[in-house]
């Protein structure tokens, strides 16, 4: 084992199985290497003093269950450096073990946690990589918004048009940026991979322009307009989470030279129309889920 002190902080999330796996990884790691100090993210946030010394004198390993990166945030807001970062969805792909969706871990989920813990301990011996994570500013847009339970949905108040596939176009002269709406990113959940179109490609309205893969599903971006791709947001390949965090701004997908926007627009909705359309969709889904839950409990 390493000759320096180590501590581990998992995200400990409770509303997704990935958080439970992150917690189990940390517990399995300290079970195998009891010298590694365990940091409880919740107690840390409440100002537990004993952690101050540990964090200052140890190299920090964070285990994040999802793109929100709560464990990472708790360390970064204290201006501390992360020595190693473990991201559960990435490990799940690497080891071809599914985390499962239920909050009670399946055998495969437990096996995934054990495998990650074993690999983590091995990698700590050889790792000297330090990770720097970049955060970007967020563009200000005026939004319509609606909260359903704890989920929050936004639609810009002006300057955008939308198709029924929950994709947007922001026209500016003969060019336009395209992307996915807040509703679509919320439905997809944490986006992990993005497949961008090729520059120079010609597309028709309602063609698939690219795809993105989340922990739940693979979805397509259906172009609201026809034209030619003139640029793509390469940053999404490195930071696909921008699609979740800022779908109308830094999460733009591609830029299109518009072929016939005035004609395409006839089949699109403006901002307030799309907001109403989205609200109805959310309501229907909410009712459907409620019905399913009641049926399950009967």
């Amino acid at each position: 084992m390493t000759n320096y002190k180590l501590c581990i902080i998992p995200c400990n999330g409770l509303d997704k199985s990935l958080g439970i796996i992150a917690r189990t990884v940390a517990l399995k790691t300290i079970e195998k290497e009891p010298k590694i100090e365990l940091i409880c993210p919740v107690l840390l946030n409440n100002g537990e003093k004993k952690y101050e010394e540990i964090l200052k004198s140890s190299k920090i390993v964070v285990v994040d269950g999802c793109m929100t990166g709560c464990a990472t945030k708790l360390i970064e807001e204290r201006n501390l450096k992360i020595f190693k970062k473990v991201f559960i969805p990435e490990m799940s792909k690497k080891f071809k073990l599914k985390p499962g969706k239920n909050l009670i871990l399946t055998e495969e989920g437990i096996n995934l946690a054990k495998t990650i813990a074993t690999e983590l301990i091995e990698s700590l011996d050889r790792s000297d990589d330090e990770i720097t994570i970049e955060y970007k500013e967020i563009e200000d847009i005026d939004y319509f918004d609606i909260t359903v339970d704890k989920f929050y949905f936004r639609v810009p108040k002006s300057g955008f048009n939308f198709n029924e596939n929950d994709c947007w176009i922001k026209p500016e002269g003969d060019l336009g940026l395209i992307g996915i709406t807040d509703y679509l990113q919320n439905s997809a959940s944490d986006i992990m991979f993005v497949e961008l179109p090729e520059i120079g490609g010609k597309i028709e309205q309602f063609d698939d322009v690219g795809s993105f893969e989340s922990v739940k599903t693979v979805l397509q971006l259906i172009s609201p307009v026809s034209g030619e791709i003139v640029s793509i947001n390469k940053l999404l390949e490195k930071q696909p989470e921008l699609l979740n965090q800022d779908p109308y701004g830094k999460g733009w997908f591609a830029e299109i030279k518009l072929a016939n926007f005035e004609e395409d627009k006839e089949l699109l909705m403006d901002c307030s129309e799309y907001f109403e359309y989205m609200k109805n969709k959310i309501m229907k889904e909410s009712e459907h889920l409620k019905k399913m839950k009641s049926e399950k409990n009967d």
Partner: protein
């Protein structure tokens, strides 16, 4: 009918359909049995006992906060605008501290360590695996939470 009036009616209908729910926030304690029990009990309430009246709030997300999308602001706003019951693994009462710090007063607090003392015959196996007795204890905690949820709706 005037458009303004139609918009108002739509909005009223929309608001009336958004039934109020109670937020359940568990201690998530990393290093203690009470943390595991509080997590399990919160799950039982939200998934089995009161699925239509409760919603789980993720405490690490709540604590990490952040105004950017998918940060903890959504959780904090929910607890600000809805009643929230905290489940505490020990006397530190981390959930209550966090809710009061970021959102406001809590509707009720359940202390798992006190319930454990009252049911000392049910000894959970470990913090990773509660075992049969531990799950029975989690069910008891969950029933206590459900009672608090019902009390809230009776008062409303």
């Amino acid at each position: 009918m005037q458009k303004k009036w139609i918009d108002y009616l739509k909005k009223r209908e929309w608001n009336s359909q958004m039934k109020k729910k109670v937020g359940i926030i568990a201690c998530s304690g990393e290093n203690l049995l009470g943390g595991t029990l509080s997590r399990a009990a919160a799950r039982i309430v939200v998934e089995k006992l009161r699925p239509n009246n409760t919603i789980i709030l993720c405490q690490p997300l709540f604590a990490a906060g952040g105004l950017e999308r998918h940060g903890g602001q959504d959780e904090r706003d929910f607890a600000k605008n809805h009643p929230t019951i905290t489940i505490e693994g020990c006397k530190e009462e981390c959930s209550k501290i966090a809710v009061e710090r970021y959102s406001g007063p809590v509707a009720a607090t359940i202390r798992v360590d006190e319930i454990m003392e009252a049911h000392f015959e049910l000894n959970p196996e470990s913090r990773e695996d509660l075992g049969e007795n531990g799950m029975k204890l989690a069910e008891i905690v969950a029933e206590e939470i459900a009672k608090k949820v019902d009390e809230y709706f009776r008062r409303e």
